[in-house]
């Protein structure tokens, strides 16, 4: 059995599954239940100067029968007093000394940061997470993603924290930025021990077409909120990989964004995370989901003959390259398994109207036929096919050597060189 124990930048936990800072990690009652259910750590709901919340606070993007394909919130940081939070955190730490308890925080002034860090260390937290990432409410006050979006400020505040913090410091990055590596490198320069990403994305989940009010509604109005849940995983995977692949970036990464199952977690880890954090999925299904997460990940590591999460970490990031490094001579075409095909012809109409007119219909059969000489291997048909592994993309041997864009004759640069040579 693979060992799921982690040492993340010096923070130890029995497994890599942590509650992300948010409503599930708001009280001792919840976090104790979470640890009992099997979570390895919790990043406490962000501490700060207590705020006031609105109702309602959450919106969802539903897709067909999926009620929560994406989720968003216009909630702020903790609405409880620092004293109450510290008391609760202390209780958790006493009951679960071997689980990771991380204090998330967000302040404006240097003294406030320092004061809170000391108080948290006094009650025995294992580390800190600096929240530079809430896209709503807090940044209007000069905090949250307003900080995360400005690398210099991010670096500065990190360095303030590092002046006093004895426990490891994680900087939580906002995705509301063009180049995530700028923010990650700033945190590294500021002296952070690790980063976590992604926080939520600026969003409006939808509009009530009867009242024309945006969601979530607050007395007829709304505000842009932070997007999270299953829909954001692809964005998180890319950003994590960008950091992993940056030659100058060396900090451990805690992956966040759209994690609901061990499979999602494994993907975050393959892109370079070494722990993961979950918020929306717990808000949706409760703490119990961790049971399958730990077991599933452990079985997966076993199946890969790996002993720890670290062995898995970053493998796939190496396979994510610039487009110009891809082999232009690699060719695949679609192939339909006639036995499995149910005859819906979705592949046909998708290719016919939306791609390359490379699928034909036959007179006496509902099973379409791939026109192999027209198929460009784009994948569209296999993506729309409702039947598992019915359309597969088959490798065609071209006998041609690997050819990348840099060397391709159609590349304008090469044309320029070619013509200049001729001259």
């Amino acid at each position: 059995m693979a060992n799921l124990e982690c040492n993340f930048a010096g923070i130890k936990s029995p497994n890599p599954f942590w509650l992300a800072s948010g409503p599930p990690a708001n009280t001792a009652y919840q976090v104790i239940n979470a640890f009992k259910a099997g979570w390895g750590g919790a990043v406490w709901k962000t501490l700060g100067v207590p705020i006031v919340n609105v109702s309602s606070r959450y919106g969802a993007m539903s897709y067909k029968n999926e009620k929560i394909a994406g989720f968003n919130n216009i909630e702020l940081i903790t609405d409880r007093s620092l004293e109450d939070n510290l008391k609760d955190m202390k209780e958790v730490k006493e009951k679960f000394p071997n689980h990771a308890l991380i204090a998330s925080m967000m302040f404006e002034k240097k003294e406030e940061w320092h004061d809170c860090i000391k108080k948290c260390e006094d009650i025995g937290v294992d580390g800190f997470e600096l929240n530079y990432g809430c896209p709503h409410g807090m940044c209007e006050r000069g905090m949250g993603s307003a900080v995360g979006q400005n690398p210099d400020v991010c670096e500065k505040i990190t360095s303030w924290v590092m002046e006093v913090a004895k426990k490891p410091v994680i900087v939580k990055l906002t995705p509301n930025i063009t180049d995530i590596t700028k923010a990650g490198l700033a945190a590294q320069r500021g002296g952070a021990n690790a980063v976590s990403l992604i926080n939520t994305i600026n969003s409006v989940t939808g509009i009530d077409l009867d009242t024309m009010e945006p969601n979530p509604k607050v007395a007829g109005l709304s505000s842009h909120g932070g997007y999270c849940g299953p829909a954001v995983k692809p964005i998180a995977l890319n950003m994590i990989a960008e950091l992993t692949n940056h030659p100058d970036f060396h900090l451990p990464i805690s992956g966040i964004g759209g994690i609901e199952t061990w499979r999602d977690a494994a993907e975050h880890i393959l892109m370079g995370a070494s722990t993961v954090q979950v918020c929306t999925a717990v808000m949706h299904y409760g703490f119990k989901i961790v049971q399958d997460m730990t077991e599933g990940l452990s079985n997966y590591l076993d199946s890969q003959k790996m002993k720890s999460v670290l062995e898995l970490s970053g493998i796939t990031a190496k396979k994510l390259r610039k487009w110009e490094d891809l082999d232009l001579n690699y060719k695949i075409i679609a192939s339909i398994d006639e036995e499995k095909c149910i005859g819906c012809q979705l592949c046909y109409i998708a290719c016919e109207d939306g791609a390359h007119q490379a699928i034909a219909l036959l007179k006496n059969s509902r099973v379409p036929k791939i026109k192999e000489d027209h198929c460009v291997g784009c994948n569209l048909c296999s993506l729309v096919c409702p039947v598992e592994s019915c359309i597969s993309m088959i490798n065609v041997t071209t006998n041609k050597q690997k050819l990348i864009w840099k060397e391709h004759p159609k590349n304008p640069i090469n044309i320029a060189i070619g013509t200049s040579l001729k001259r």
Partner: protein, 443 residues
């Protein structure tokens, strides 16, 4: 033997819809499952070719009004069809989900959901067309006649429907099982359809004597008279009290809103869907019901899902049995039957049966329902000049025109008894042909 006739009050629950109206939530969830197939096989399987993926998508986007329009533009009786079609062998039977061994889309109920929305809210999509000055008579206000009348009115013709019964609707009103389609359903649907502006004259049976005037007054005539009474078995005791034909029994049941008397022990003779309906209805009224059929379950004409429904309602099936005499003094007390054995079939048709000698036995009962098929309306049809019949069915060409060019026909009267949806399709297509026939020069 003396058994009393038990009076059963209709308990609402017994005749509750077996496929109740979907709630909004149910409809949206089901609609979202539809794959939106290209050239969808469900459309091909629908005799009226409703664009099923489109109307289901419209339900999904909560454009329910648009969904109803999609349905009604192909099938103006979309509500009854959604409720009564044997969808298992039509649209739903063709749904690609069957190939995945998954539950097909609940097309019939989605169709009922969308059409109910339009009918309840009186949202109408079709108007009477610009007057053509042509007059058309429709004989029979069943599904075929109503569908034809609606389409003709849309084209601007002046249409009068002559209906023998006190209510229009044909077997939708007096035939199909009330747990599929209720009297209120039928009434509301007919009111909704006829608002386009055709006349319905009820209690107006057309006889041989009316024909000359009809032919004089109208430019074309559509025959949608359906079938006739139950075929008699021609056995002894058939006239006893308590012996009835299935269609007559069901007519009575529907007419009286299920408040009819039923025998304590009922024997139903026959193997088709009508036999099943009569048996299930009797069971729902409280009777102990046995169906006897002369062949085996493999030759039975009834759909498997109807047989299943009967079994769920406690109906007993006895196979390879033929009725010989119905016995009783004044009213029926028992039925004498013989056992049959199956002989290999020669012509590839249904297997032959042979009576087993000296196998007579008697089943006690106080009601016998005969469901051995319906007669054709031969006498009336023969009185129409030049009208060719084939085995009692009116012969028509591709455009539903009969051998007398002024007459067109559709529904059970031409196909010998199929489904409501076939009658609707015929009526609609015949209307298009009549329009063409009358307007050859004008259009």
């Amino acid at each position: 033997m003396k058994t009393s006739i038990k009076e059963i009050k209709e308990t609402k629950n017994n005749f509750a819809k077996i496929k109740p109206l979907l709630t909004d939530n149910e409809a949206h969830i089901e609609a979202a499952r539809c794959l939106f197939c290209h050239d969808a096989p469900c459309i091909t399987a629908c005799p009226t070719s409703i664009d099923i993926p489109l109307f289901i998508r419209q339900i999904m986007t909560q454009n329910t009004t648009g969904a109803a329009k999609t349905i009604f533009s192909q099938n103006i009786l979309g509500k009854s069809c959604g409720n009564v079609c044997p969808t298992e062998i039509l649209c739903e039977g063709a749904c690609v989900y069957n190939n995945l061994n998954e539950k097909p889309i609940d097309i019939g109920r989605l169709q009922a959901y969308a059409t109910e929305h339009a009918i309840k809210n009186d949202i109408r999509f079709f108007q009477k067309g610009k007057s053509t000055g042509k007059k058309i008579a429709v004989i029979g206000g069943g599904p075929a006649g109503l569908s034809c009348a609606h389409k003709l009115t849309e084209s601007g013709h002046e249409v009068t429907v002559f209906e023998a019964s006190e209510n229009a609707g044909g077997l939708n009103t007096y035939g199909v099982a009330p747990y599929k389609f209720s009297n209120e359903d039928a009434k509301e649907e007919i009111e909704y359809i006829s608002k386009i502006g055709f006349k319905i004259k009820t209690n107006n049976k057309i006889t041989k004597d009316d024909l000359p005037k009809l032919e004089k007054d109208y430019d074309a005539i559509f025959i949608g008279v359906g079938l006739g009474n139950t075929k008699p078995l021609k056995i002894e005791g058939e006239n006893l009290k308590g012996v009835t034909g299935a269609t007559e029994f069901i007519y009575n049941l529907r007419k009286n809103n299920q408040k009819i008397k039923i025998g304590k022990e009922v024997v139903v003779i026959g193997g088709g869907n009508t036999a099943i309906d009569a048996a299930v209805e009797s069971a729902k009224l409280g009777a102990k019901v046995t169906i006897i059929y002369r062949r085996t379950e493999h030759e039975q004409g009834a759909y498997y899902f109807e047989i299943e429904l009967a079994k769920q309602n406690g109906v007993q099936f006895k196979y390879l049995i033929s009725p010989k005499t119905i016995n009783g003094k004044g009213s029926v007390e028992s039925i004498t039957c013989t056992n049959n054995k199956l002989m290999p079939s020669k012509n590839g048709n249904k297997a032959n049966i042979e009576e087993i000698k000296r196998s007579e036995f008697t089943i006690p009962c106080n009601m016998v329902i005969i469901a051995a098929g319906q007669e054709k309306q031969i006498d009336f049809l023969k009185s129409i000049k030049d009208l060719k019949l084939d085995n009692g069915k009116i012969t028509v060409n591709k455009t539903f025109q009969t051998t007398n060019p002024k007459y067109f026909a559709g529904g059970d009267a031409i196909n010998g008894g199929k489904e409501v949806v076939n009658a609707v399709a015929n009526g609609r297509d015949a209307a298009r042909a009549i329009d063409k026939y009358l307007m050859q020069e004008a259009r």
